[in-house]
């Protein structure tokens, strides 16, 4: 009995000492732990977490773009007056349209925009002359000139007037360029016709010269001169 207890105690002690002797080196354990946690981070965090993060960013961008685009389109279609808070959106839409439309339609577009500016000036003049409220003025002003122009609506009208002139000059420039192109085309056409005519005359002259030469050989008189008339 006592021997059994003694043997059991010895066995337990040996197992305890065996386990303690077989324990890993703490330095290795620390390094392995670090590696394990590092391998956990990039593999599992990047795939799920980053996709989720980017999807949020993309959603925000899409919503922002969609919202701005819708507001701009709405303001443009409604042709909001200069006093409206959506006026800047209208201008963005107009600028985008001018950039996107084909070259041959640009003069008309500039002319339409000039007409719009004129209409805006007409709309804004009585309103601003009678009651230039802060709200109305701030809606019209650009941030850079806001402090200088809060007292009077005149600079705003001046600005609109400048923009109107700009649109008109743009339309005129485009028209002039178009005409120039058309004139150049006509000139090219005329030169082509003239060149054809020269070729034809040369051919006739050559034929006449040959005919005269034959006649001379036969002893006859010259029928036509060989002059080249251009």
């Amino acid at each position: 009995m006592i021997r059994n207890i003694k043997n059991n105690f010895k066995f337990v002690r040996n197992i305890f000492r065996l386990k303690r002797s077989l324990n890993p080196d703490p330095i290795f354990l620390r390094s392995a732990r670090g590696k394990f946690l590092n391998s956990l981070a990039p593999q599992r965090i990047s795939l799920r977490h980053h996709i989720l993060q980017w999807s949020h960013v993309m959603a925000v961008i899409i919503i922002a773009l969609g919202g701005t685009g819708s507001l701009a389109a709405f303001a443009d279609i409604k042709d909001v007056p200069v006093t409206s808070s959506l006026y800047e959106f209208k201008r963005v839409s107009e600028a985008t349209r001018i950039v996107l439309i084909p070259e041959e339609k640009k003069p008309d577009a500039h002319a339409k925009l000039a007409a719009r500016r004129l209409k805006e000036i007409k709309q804004a003049q009585p309103v601003l002359a009678v009651a230039p409220t802060t709200k109305t003025i701030s809606a019209l002003q650009t941030p850079a000139s806001a402090s200088a122009e809060t007292a009077t609506p005149l600079p705003i009208l001046k600005k609109l007037d400048e923009e109107l002139r700009h649109e008109i000059s743009k339309a005129i420039e485009q028209r002039a360029e178009e005409r120039k192109d058309i004139n150049e085309n006509k000139k090219t056409e005329r030169e082509k016709v003239k060149s054809d005519r020269r070729i034809r005359v040369c051919k006739l002259a050559a034929e006449a010269a040959e005919k005269n030469l034959i006649e001379l050989r036969r002893g006859g008189a010259l029928e036509k001169s060989c002059e080249l008339d251009f």
Partner: protein, 178 residues
């Protein structure tokens, strides 16, 4: 020592990429797993490699772990045991010790390399003389501290059966030691 339910919760957190859970799982398993590999391979470097590889495999397959099919403890130990079996399969045939000694190579007993005490070396040598299934049971129960419940799941044996087997094994080792 962590309870099986606690380990299952840690595994679920690890699935959701919780580094703290990863750290706790590492602290719980690393030492017994290293001891298990060291006794089986008798080489510190191999045991270290196998331990690191076990954690990598566990992380690779953590999404496949399902609580309804068993607890995390036995699932992870199964990965470790399979890894050891794969390593043994891939190992090239080694030269016999006699032929190496004949060739003038100084042979040191592997148990002497890993254990400093003569008495412990003797115990380990006795363990190495046991049949393979008994060696495995000794390593898993006495060296790696795996409970009867988890061993039952891992070895497809009832807990009562395992208790009898462990008792017999203990008796056998004591007899061989005297």
């Amino acid at each position: 020592m962590k309870e099986p339910t606690e380990l299952n919760k840690l595994a679920e957190r690890l699935k959701k990429n919780d580094p703290q859970a990863g750290g706790e799982i590492f602290d719980h398993f690393s030492t017994p797993m290293y001891r298990y590999f060291l006794v089986r391979t008798s080489q510190k470097e191999t045991a270290q490699d196998l331990m690191s590889e076990s954690f990598s495999r566990m992380l690779e397959h953590i999404d496949q772990f399902n609580i309804e099919q068993g607890n995390f403890n036995s699932w992870f130990w199964r990965i470790a045991r399979n890894l050891l079996i794969d390593t043994y399969r891939q190992k090239k045939p080694v030269q016999s010790l006699d032929s190496m000694q004949d060739a003038g190579i100084d042979i040191v007993d592997p148990t002497e390399r890993i254990l400093p005490h003569v008495e412990l070396q003797r115990v380990l040598k006795i363990i190495k003389t046991l049949p393979d299934d008994e060696q495995e049971l000794f390593n898993l129960y006495f060296v790696a501290d795996i409970s009867y419940a988890d061993l039952s799941e891992m070895m497809d044996k009832s807990e009562a059966n395992l208790r009898v087997l462990v008792h017999r094994l203990k008796k056998k080792i004591i007899e061989l030691s005297n």
